[in-house]
């Protein structure tokens, strides 16, 4: 009995550092990543990408997509924090994996990199569809661009794309100078879904068609409606990268030089490596991850939070926002965080000022309207975690004894009142006793 408990304690002691490495609210960067491949040769052909991931401390677990022992969770616990699906042609996953379990994986707050390619399977298309991305229905179609292709190859399906989303959070502070090489299938975004956005868009001259056959009808997808690489940040801040090209991550394109057709600039090395690395940093929460403390508010001059405010109270509001740097929580610095004092519509909208130590605060006067208000911080900066905080607080009108008792303007009335009373008294006296 003693032995057993000791050994349990011992095991847990060994497990402790392991546990602390795992994905959590305090440490949002993913650690354990499952990589699904449809061919183990991808492991070597895409080795640079995987090596950079490993060097950043990720624990990659390579599995064949049809491995019969595949499982994302065991006993209700997820085994991985992230998932990379580099298996565009897989029709069916092995084990218990299917598109729904991948959707559940994302809904549990975990991250996904999904790469399709020409002739992507229905399974992959289905997963993409769950995330608001529609791949071109024609399975043989590719993105063709006769003006911004890479001249090195002369192939108009090798796109040299440089229309990147302008977000330091997603693509890092260093600008990606060289165009990104892309060969693969086009996709469009579901217009009703406002969580998904294009990271790498095609040029206006691009279109999606089968390159080997003659174009018989106008292509479905054209121009900058075509997205090459998209990201989706779910409401629970799970992040998803969907790429139409598996080759984008390959060693060959990482290493090859690039010159965009019609452009004099020739680059020794394509932007692919930087693009893929920075994107993986974003998707695995090494960057752009914010955390907010609770909303703190109190009357001016007090420190405790009241249960109810009165109209026209002066109050102070503050919230702490921290940013994950990949290793530790750093104060978040921004000048665009706003708070709303909200009841069906915002009655007060104020930009919070920061003390550069992570505290954002402001003070304002409660409007002259009673009701159940909410302090709302809705912060959805591109590439950052969406912060959606609210705290309910009722606002009451004045109490009966909080009004002014005597108003200067009413003094004539007070005077009139008392004069009448005195006059009545005198009148009664005179009337009754005057003969």
């Amino acid at each position: 009995m003693m032995n057993l408990s000791r050994s349990v304690a011992l095991i847990s002691l060994f497990l402790l550092p392991l546990l602390s490495f795992s994905f959590s609210v305090d440490n949002p960067t993913d650690r354990r990543v499952l990589v699904l491949l449809d061919d183990l040769s991808l492991k070597s052909s895409h080795s640079i990408f995987f090596t950079t991931l490993k060097s950043r401390g990720f624990d990659l677990d390579f599995k064949l997509a049809d491995d019969s022992k595949l499982a994302l969770q065991r006993y209700g616990q997820y085994l991985y924090d992230g998932l990379i699906v580099f298996a565009p042609s897989t029709e069916r996953f092995g084990g218990s994996l299917d598109s729904k379990s991948i959707a559940d994986f994302v809904d549990s707050g975990r991250d996904l990199i999904l790469s399709a390619d020409t002739s992507a399977s229905d399974l992959i298309r289905g997963i993409a569809l769950e995330c608001g991305v529609d791949f071109d229905e024609d399975s043989s179609a590719m993105v063709i661009d006769h003006s911004s292709f890479s001249v090195s190859d002369g192939d108009h399906t090798l796109i040299a794309a440089d229309d990147l989303v302008k977000s330091d959070a997603i693509l890092g502070k260093t600008k990606i100078e060289a165009p990104v090489l892309f060969r693969g299938v086009a996709h469009s975004l579901n217009p009703t879904n406002n969580l998904v956005l294009k990271v790498l868009s095609a040029s206006p001259s691009a279109y999606s068609a089968n390159p080997s056959s003659k174009l018989s009808s106008p292509p479905q997808l054209t121009g900058s409606a075509i997205s090459l690489v998209s990201v989706m940040q779910a409401r629970n801040n799970a992040r998803v990268v969907i790429s139409g090209s598996l080759q984008l991550f390959s060693d060959r394109l990482f290493r090859s030089g690039v010159q965009k057709a019609g452009s004099p600039n020739k680059y020794e090395k394509s932007g692919n490596e930087q693009f893929a690395t920075e994107l993986s940093k974003w998707v695995f929460h090494e960057r752009g991850h914010l955390k907010a403390g609770s909303l703190v508010h109190h009357r001016v001059g007090e420190t405790d939070e009241p249960a109810i405010y009165r109209i026209k109270d002066d109050l102070e509001f503050s919230v702490e926002i921290l940013e994950w740097s990949g290793k530790s929580w750093e104060p978040y610095v921004a000048d665009d965080v706003q708070v709303q004092f909200y009841m069906m519509s915002p009655y007060v909208l104020k930009t919070l000022s920061t003390d550069k130590k992570g505290m954002f605060h402001t003070s304002f006067k409660v409007p002259d309207v009673y009701g159940v208000f909410q302090f709302k911080v809705e912060y959805g900066k591109l590439g950052y975690t969406t912060l959606s905080l609210s705290k309910q607080i009722p606002v009451r009108p004045y109490r009966h004894n909080e009004y002014e008792r005597f108003i200067p303007t009413a003094y004539p009335y007070y005077g009139a009142c008392f004069t009448t009373m005195a006059g009545f008294f005198v009148f009664s006296f005179v009337y009754l006793y005057h003969k």
């Binding site: 769950e130 969580l195 159940v372 009966h400």
Partner: protein, 742 residues
Amino acid sequence: MGGKQDPTANGSPKSESMGAKKASPDLLNSSFSFKSLKLKTKQQELLLRVSILGLVYVLAFIARLFSVLRYESMIHEFDPYFNYRTTLYLTEKGFYEFWNWFDSESWYPLGRIIGGTLYPGLMVTAALIYWTLRFLRFFVHIREVCVLTAPFFASNTTIVAYFFGKEIWDTGAGLVAAALIAICPGYISRSVAGSYDNEAVAIFALLLTFYLFVKAVKTGSLSWALGSAFGYFYMVSAWGGYVFIINLVPLYVLVLLITGRYSMRLYVAYNCMYILGMLLAMQIRFVGFQHVQSGEHMGAMGVFLLMQVFYFLDWVKYQLNDTKLFQTFLRITVTSAILVGGIALGVGTASGYISPWTGRFYSLLDPTYAKDHIPIIASVSEHQPTAWSSFMFDYHILLFLFPAGLYFCFKRLSDATIFIVMYGLTSLYFAGVMVRLILVATPAVCLISAIAVSATVKNLTSLLRTKQKVPQTGSTKGVGSSKSSSKVTLDQSQPFQKNGAIALLVGVFYLLSRYAIHCTWVTSEAYSSPSIVLAARGAHGNRIIFDDYREAYYWLRQNTPTDAKVMSWWDYGYQITAMGNRTVIVDNNTWNNTHIATVGRAMSSYEDEAYDIMRSLDVNYVLVVFGGVTGYSSDDINKFLWMVRIGGGVYPVIKEPDYLVNGEFRVDKGASPKMLNCLMYKLCYYRFGELVTEYGKPTGYDRARGVEIGNKDIKLEHLEEAYTTSNWIVRIYRVKPPTNRL
């Protein structure tokens, strides 16, 4: 006149009225035996009167206890739950907290200033009773006090009715009035144990005010007028129906002025009552300055000013001895007074200082007004025009005793009888406009009927007594109507008078006993159901209790987060806050029509449109009442057209014809597509298509409407079923958060 009659003559109507309550033999015997002790007649009469009044007092209380005995001591219906909740708050937190209470749990997110939007009379009364009992070391629960407040005040009303009857006719009429009102179904419907509503104390206050005012007019005494002003204050603090008083009293005064019955007594009574009553009424926050600013109260003010003009003219007439000069003066004064008054009213109305008449007031004067303009008033079942059957149901014999009483009143016209006639006629008109106002007419009907009964019986007994001295023989004659025959017997001296009188007395006795039986039956069968617990008869005649409401509210209380917001139609708002202790969007205090219309719009929209509305109101749960399984007909589907109308009144996107097929409201296969897919339909009939409700009928057979539903395959996208009570009467749905990835 003054109530000093022969005791025996008085005793008969008393025993008549009591005879209906199985107390007659003793009283009759005793009154006969008392005849031998002539000296103590007055004391005997007093003893009789007091004991009869005491019995009536007790009777009025116990006749209202059916529901407590049959179910349990609980609060009934909808509004009483709010009153109960506020009373609880008052006893727990004290008066000032209650007065300043801002309730953030109702009308989310607007909130409601409870202290400023209710009539506090009822709550304060119950709290005072509670505190008194506590002080006397009776440790009762506040709920018991609330349940029994209405019967207690009904008992008090009988006492006031006695004094009122005594004032307008004589003590006999007073006693009959007390007995009639004690068991009159029109009053019992609103004052059974558990119906803890404003009307419970308001009828007492109403009758008290009228009684004291009539007394003041009769005596010209300042103190009675003062009492009347305080009675009015209590009425204002208890019920919005005080508007009836503030319009009836001036109307009465006006009639007296026109008929030349102006007197100093009237001047003193009205001026004192109006001025003091107005000042006192302004202390009630909910009423505020309405007495000087609202169109409904302007009549009283106009009569007040007219009174001063009358007095002034009287004084001028006294000063000027020249009639011709006075005539000219009169003409000038009256014209200028009317002119000034008219200009003041016009300017006040145009500048917005005097608010125009409210919709409720209009709908009283014009019964069709609400239907066209204010669907929220027309939607309430107790605001419907009264059917003849409910008059019969609530008044029974009083319905034809009333005209007889009017006849007697007109025969002996005085200030007091003019008042009761006017009260009776106006209130009966309003009772015809709205079902609930039968309540206001009930005291008048009882009083006037009591005059008829008392006067008839007195005439008959005096006839019997005179004939005893000169005995005559004769055969009995068939008698038709009691009133006409009694008149005949009075006017002419016929040989068969004695027997005729006996027959008529028996007839009156029979009628009154029928009345008592009818009242008991109505009380027991119709008015003692708590409506929060439903009862039905099973196939074998056994009683089945549906306690689904409380089941659902307790589920809400125990299984939802404390700050959850529940959306339901406004009928259930008070109950959800009181029993479920959860925030509601709208409730029975229908002060904000737009907010209710928003809920109506959500209920009548498609699910995805409704979802946006519900998200904007932070709704977490939706509660619907559904009677398709049990056959409970006052459910949300039957109320649905009102939701459409009220929603459409504010949001024109909702159109009533979209939900109708050829002007017909249906839920079966022939229903309109919008009806079959709106939120309310989906929530009521979700999973209903797979249920067999009645043997030999297809699945999804709606028992409340007797049809098979038209849409059996209902899929919910943004809501999920959270709880359905055992008989499906209440169904609660959870509003899902927005999907994670879309």
